[in-house]
């Protein structure tokens, strides 16, 4: 028995520090919100539930089925987790899964874990839950159909986000990586959609109470619909732009100073990569880098602390 890595997990070395840090900041903020929400709204029963559900997602990712030409489909689970556990709990569960995959199996790096959590845990949950939530009161058939579309789209969102991060880090050229990522994951997403729908319909048949009114699944507010739709629209709009007309996006990124930052070494949070009073010496560059890193660290720690306070 071996552990097979999945294609969306970015290893260390492929994203630069700026992109990794930005992803970490977004991830830490969203997880912080999830932590405070789950502490507030969910009962004490949720702790073992989320823990064992995390093990479930991990184990369910090992259920594969042969598709065509020697490839096999399997589950990523972000959309499924968010639909059955509610969005915040789903995000925490996916975060734990990705953290263990990175820490224990080196499937996905540590410095880039923020990006991996964002791509596979947060975006997938937002789309999966948001779209599903919009048809919560409709018939089971509608719910399953929308869940399938949401599952497929969630994988595409993860793939697109990965491609964009690789490009912004100067690791890949935009058009190639977008086309490659999206076309591979358009197929993987079909597997994701099929398994998600089949698993949900199994639950609808055997334990409809787990997905009905009053269940954790129904706890997400209507704001999630907006979040799901916005992320979905971004995927739908950015995908063709990045794969067919990359010049536009490249220009935006250059204007924002991103491409420069991506291509050169990544300590450019401070303008001109040096501290003015030290002049253009290596020492100045290193100090500038260190200060940049400290600022990022400070933000991360401060966010963590403030959330920690809420939780204890």
């Amino acid at each position: 028995m071996h552990y097979a890595p999945a294609p969306l997990h970015i290893p260390d070395g492929f994203l630069n520090v700026t992109v990794s840090a930005i992803c970490w900041v977004i991830t830490v903020i969203v997880i912080g919100m999830a932590v405070s929400r789950t502490n507030k709204s969910l009962g004490e029963k949720q702790v073992p539930l989320m823990g064992i559900m995390a093990a479930f997602i991990f184990a369910a990712q090992m259920i594969n089925f042969p598709v065509a030409g020697g490839t096999s489909g399997h589950l990523l689970g972000g959309a499924l987790a968010a639909i059955v556990l509610g969005p915040w709990a789903g995000m925490l569960v996916m975060t734990a899964v990705i953290a263990v995959q990175g820490l224990l199996f080196q499937d996905g790096g540590l410095l880039v874990m923020g990006a991996n959590i964002l791509n596979m845990g947060l975006l997938t949950a937002a789309i999966g839950y948001g779209l599903y939530r919009s048809v919560m009161n409709k018939s089971t058939g509608t719910k399953l159909a929308v869940a399938g579309v949401a599952a497929w789209l969630s994988v595409m969102a993860g793939a697109l986000a990965t491609a964009l991060q690789l490009w912004l880090s100067g690791t890949s050229s935009l058009q190639t990586v977008t086309i490659a990522m999206l076309s591979v994951h358009a197929l993987i997403g079909i597997g994701e959609a099929l398994i998600t729908v089949a698993a949900l319909s199994f639950i609808f048949r055997t334990r409809p109470d787990l997905l009905g009114e009053g269940s954790v699944s129904a706890e997400g507010g209507r704001g999630w619909i907006a979040a799901g739709v916005v992320v979905s629209l971004l995927v739908v709009l950015l995908s063709p732009l990045a794969s067919a007309n990359p010049d536009g996006l490249e220009r935006v990124a250059t204007d924002l100073g991103f491409i420069e930052a991506g291509q050169a070494a990544p300590y450019e949070i401070i303008p001109n990569y040096t501290l003015p009073f030290l002049g253009e010496t290596p020492l100045s560059t290193i100090l500038a880098g260190a200060i940049g890193a400290l600022i990022v660290l400070g933000i991360v720690v401060a966010t963590g602390r403030s959330l920690q306070k809420k939780t204890s």
């Binding site: 989320m50 995390a54 090992m62 569960v93 734990a96 410095l111 880098g289």
Partner: protein
Amino acid sequence: MHFDAFDRYHDTGSFIHRLDPRVKVVVTVAYILSNALLPDGAWTAFGLAWLFLLFASALSNLGPGFTFKRSFIALPFALAAVTVLFSIPGSPLSTFHFLFWNLTITDMGLLRFVSIVVRSWLSVQMAILLVATTRFPDIVHALEHLRVPAILTTIIAFLYRYLFVLVDEVFRLLRAREARSAAAPGSRSGGSAAWRARVAGNMAGQLFLRSYERSDRVYNAMLARGYTGRLNTIHPHEMHRMDYIVTVLALFIILLFQLIGRI
């Protein structure tokens, strides 16, 4: 059945094994951060970082090939970086024809590509060393000490504990599926891809329900031992003088790599 293949810990009782897990987590992250910060083509610094890794491996008594043998897990991802070979402007090294493209490898492109692969290769080995020398529950303790929210570390601890139980269940389900997927002579086994996905989805649903019911029983077991919604943990680790010395020394050396990499 035991899936010991999931255990990455190799006990040799070495100096590195006995260090406080916090030290190892912090140094590993600093090392990976340092690799990411080194500019492309900082070969001296990359070389020294490699020596640092070899030295840490030697100290942990795992044998020189241990991390090397397992370091190729991230290699397939290098495909994602192949395009920089051609896309970064520089003087052409070689041109070849692939399908209907003429591709030119540039010197700057090659420099960047090799740098990315080296960064990844060094970083993944340090992460391998971390889990080989630190038991996973201790890594979770380190995260607790380093102020990761308790709810996350608890989920991770549960995940680790039940990973083995649930993966066992998955393999029982998979074996049951295999035992029943016979094929008539001359015909292909199994139905359409959609049908196979449905079977897989039913298995996922089945597993979900069993997990859900198990979480009920675990919750009862927690209640029976006084759980009221607040989790109390005991912090079994204490930093000793040696732990502080190693941390400072390692971070200093890693800082030196940055200095050397930029001159």
